[in-house]
Symmetry: C2
DNA sequence: CCGATTTTTCGAACGCCGTTAGATTATCTA
DNA sequence: TAGATAATCTAACGGCGTTCGAAAAATCGG
């Protein structure tokens, strides 16, 4: 049981108790900051729980008071990353009052977020694909993270609906975009994109344009 | 220096020397068989060089006579996997004399190969994305493996050309397909596809159909 | 067939890793 | 201030990939 588990289930929370909780959450977030710093300098693969602990000024074992595992540290970072991504896609869609523009903008924002923040992409791939061992997130993921991921794509689904797509078609459009974006990003991420001499952003934009015009063709007859 | 390195650079190769080389290659492939068996029973993530060695009847250190690293073992398996995949896409394309049919068949064969052989997909993702540490394949891949990967897609490029696409358009079509297939396969692989309620094979077929009709539209006017 | 040489394997260790158990210190409560 | 609880530490476990140097097995020249 980690610190915040126990804090969460403490009932009335007197004023000093609240203060204690705040301190604990602060320490938790300082550990996450240290982890981010280690990721930045060593890369996600080169990071270890021990290196994160050292960067945070802790002994390795101390991290287990705040997180139940190394994976939980990563999951917390991913959750925060997905929140930022959701904000980006929401903001992009909000900047357009035409559905087609909103769809394209949200999709492009999704791609751009990861193109410009390879660290977040690392994190996403790491947990998203089951890179981690036993009963980890990999094999059945965290429902909350799954939901957070879906939320980042919600603006696309909404825009598809406004474009005239029914629910099934909207889901299909979102799935197609997501799969394609993941593929392109993986190619970029692994430097394999140069095998094909393509501009990844142009690939994404083309996909979005085709998706929009495809919906229009169906919706308008 | 591994065994086959040294054998390769031995000059005239007398008859007994050839025999020695053959024996060495056999041992090498027995180790690879053991690795495959371990992957099958433990999964690629659960496998360790030590477990592979044990399965092959070796001490861990002995593997370093035949392979320069664990990664080299994986790379050898991936090379063989890519050869089989290439055979699959080539055969699929060869079964059609119309370019559209060949393009679709090769693409579908690519997808089907990995859908039906998740172990090969594991391997591909593992080395393809830089899952491995230091100066490994991950960060700059093996040129041979890169070429072998490209070769698996060659039938698609050829068919695109026969469809009337110029070279740039052909490369773009191949890149688009590959990115999309990778994305869909990753979704399947990580069981994330059910988030979207889509049939992955249908997604691929739809993409291939749209790609073909897109080329046709351009080529025919 | 034997001794020398080379190829192949092993035993032991190194320095990492994530994680756990139990003792220990800091912090708050009463 | 005494006791409880929260937070951290020390030490260890078993595992990992890898390396080193010695042993064993196979091969070769005489």
């Amino acid at each position: 049981m980690t610190a915040n588990d126990s804090l969460r289930r403490r009932a009335p929370a007197s004023a000093p108790a609240k203060r204690r909780q705040a301190v604990s959450l602060l320490k938790r977030s300082l550990i996450l900051d240290a982890a981010r710093a280690v990721f930045e300098s060593e890369g996600l693969e080169g990071a270890s729980l021990r290196s994160i602990a050292k960067a945070a000024g802790y002994t390795p074992a101390a991290l287990y008071f705040h997180f139940s595992s190394k994976e939980a540290v990563y999951a917390a970072l991913l959750a925060e990353s997905l929140d930022r991504l959701k904000a980006a896609t929401e903001a992009a869609a909000a900047g357009h009052d035409d559905a087609a523009g909103a769809f394209r903008a949200a999709g492009l924002a999704f791609f751009t977020f990861y193109a410009e923040n390879p660290g977040d992409l690392d994190l996403g791939f790491y947990l998203f694909r089951g890179g981690m061992k036993p009963q980890g997130l990999g094999r059945d993921f965290d429902p909350g993270l799954n939901g957070a991921l879906a939320a980042t794509l919600a603006p696309l689904g909404r825009a598809a609906g406004q474009l005239g797509a029914d629910e099934a078609a909207g889901e299909r459009l979102v799935a197609e975009f997501f799969a394609y974006a993941v593929g392109v990003l993986l190619l970029v991420h692994t430097r394999r994109i140069r095998m094909f001499g393509q501009d990844p952003r142009a690939m994404i934009e083309r996909h979005l344009d085709l998706a929009v015009s495809g919906v229009r063709r169906v919706a308008l007859g």
